[in-house]
Symmetry: C2
């Protein structure tokens, strides 16, 4: 199962949901901070999950304007897949390197001044991202411990990267032997 599939399946495991609801939920919970599921992908993924028989859709009419919804319910097989996929996600390391590392590998392609400007932008962006995560964490109270853990891990990682970067920028500034 891919990350996107797992993310959506887990939302349906909480309770029955339809596509549009999932989109709003992803937005509302700020899940785009961790995943990158586009709006247009949600229905595509729902169809994939249904084809695998992990969820089952049912057309439902409700009060108010608008067309009918397709509400999805997780199956027993779906729960089993969710368990298996969660264990895999927890156990298999997958530290992908960031594009920044690739940029570092190509540092000679740009001038020192350009590199410094770019890295300072990176640093600011990182700080902003950290701020957004922090704010979202603080705006919610009494979260289950594993949700706290997620936030804490995210902040730990981003802080490590931020601190490293600021040290590197400093070093680079004091180098006089580059182009």
């Amino acid at each position: 199962m891919t990350n996107a599939e797992l993310a959506i399946l887990s939302l349906i495991a909480e309770k029955d949901r339809h596509g549009y609801e999932i989109e709003s939920l992803i937005e509302e919970r700020g899940m785009r901070e961790w995943t990158e599921i586009g709006f247009s992908s949600i229905y595509y993924i729902l169809k994939k999950l249904e084809k695998k028989q992990w969820i089952k859709g049912k057309v439902v009419r409700q009060a108010g304007p608008g067309r009918s919804r397709v509400v999805y319910h997780i199956s027993a097989a779906g729960r089993k897949a969710l368990r298996a996929s969660t264990l895999e996600a927890l156990s298999v390391p997958h530290s992908a390197s960031s594009p920044m590392q690739l940029g570092l590998a190509n540092l000679p392609a740009v001038s020192k001044a350009e590199a410094l400007a770019a890295l300072r932008q990176q640093s600011e962006g990182l700080a902003e991202h950290r701020g957004r995560i922090q704010a979202r964490w603080e705006s919610q109270k009494n979260l289950p411990f594993f949700v706290d853990a997620m936030f804490d891990l995210a902040l730990t990682k981003i802080t490590a990267e931020f601190n490293w970067l600021d040290r590197f920028i400093d070093q680079l500034e004091h180098k006089y032997d580059e182009n």
Copy 2:
């Protein structure tokens, strides 16, 4: 430009190269530690780069057995794209979350014992990965400072994750209120 394209373009920027050579180089330099370019993708990406006119292929015969090679040379436009893409990689933050974070979000789907076993596996895998990177770093001498930086950043990030994880495993062990 995608990461895979940038990685391959940068190898051709160093010097003219052909597909098979790029594959061996990626293997030899342990680049699979940072990127995930499959063998079958290299020729595909070379074709894409050539279509964009960033590189130009030339059929070359050489002494010894085997068929002719297509040796690629970077163009002026290619160098320009490499510069631009490097600056982007350096300046745009892109801290994607690991699958482990998604697993954490779904912790209730598995039992405490299962979660602990999975997380211990993650921890071991992380340690191994760190060991591989460390070994590769130490096996090379007098690297340019920016390559040292890459290694250092990689180790910093993986160490932060590893330390966080060990703390979390400890905490989880002492919880008695879960299933």
